[in-house]
Amino acid sequence: MDCTTTSPAARRYLRRFLVTMLLYVVFIVLAVSVFVHYRPTGPLAWLLAVLPALAIILQIAAYGLYLAEETDEFQKNLAVQSMVWGIGATLSVTVTWGFLENFVQLRHMDLFLVYPLFCGLSGIAYGLVGRRYR
């Protein structure tokens, strides 16, 4: 799934990923500015909070599409492994943080950092898993 790939499925995924990532950033900026400036409550607050999550849903759908479209079994396996390692590492970090937060008064982890954390760790996992097969 790197930028030098010739796989059409991977190229499509990269395009979709970039679009959804851009949407995520736009939605985050929009939601934060409305929350900060207008302090909405009730259903509007919920709607704004859901906005960035829509981009996440689209990104997960793009990943699912990539897995369905990719014909190279090796690449598909690499993508699945990095996803599994990404979520495993994310949950390991959050559990460790959770214990420190609950019992040693470490500051509360901002929940909307979980998604970027997962993306970062999956990316690292993709590099590491790919390297193992070189």
Partner: protein
């Protein structure tokens, strides 16, 4: 996989057994970690070691899932699991993002980050049954 009680698939059986052992380990390590941090008031590196303890079975669960995918000869079962994992990951990330915003800007009740692991497991299980039902 989740309905491996009815299956005679050896890979699914092994996965379920390993997962049960790891879940028990997670419970045990969580109690140990909480008791250690609350009762002994450790300092320095011991705090970190105790906090990392419950994360070990989670990391091992990832290994076990990867191993199951390699051992599972049935492509359909593997595809269902991958879709269920995607569903579980998506739902967990959506919940944390929405809740994070409400927590920060709408004074919503704080979500204990320790709940992320059970939330993820529940959604993987729900997604698994939904995907399975889709193919029935």
């Amino acid at each position: 996989m989740f309905d491996s009680c009815k299956t005679n698939n050896p890979a699914a059986w092994r996965f379920t057994l390993r997962f049960i052992v790891l879940s028990l380990l997670y419970g045990l390590f969580s109690v140990l970690s909480a008791a250690g941090l609350l009762l002994w008031h450790p300092t320095g590196i011991v705090i970190w070691l105790l906090a990392v303890l419950p994360a070990i079975p989670i990391a091992m669960a990832v290994l076990v899932t990867g191993r199951y995918m390699n051992e599972e000869k049935d492509d359909f079962q593997r595809a269902v699991l991958v879709q269920a994992l995607l569903g579980g990951i998506g739902a967990t990330l959506v919940i944390t993002t929405v809740w994070g915003f409400l927590e920060n800007y709408a004074h919503f009740h704080r979500l204990d980050i320790l709940f992320l692991w059970p939330i993820y497991l529940v959604f993987v299980a729900i997604a698994y049954y939904i995907v399975k039902a889709k193919y029935r």
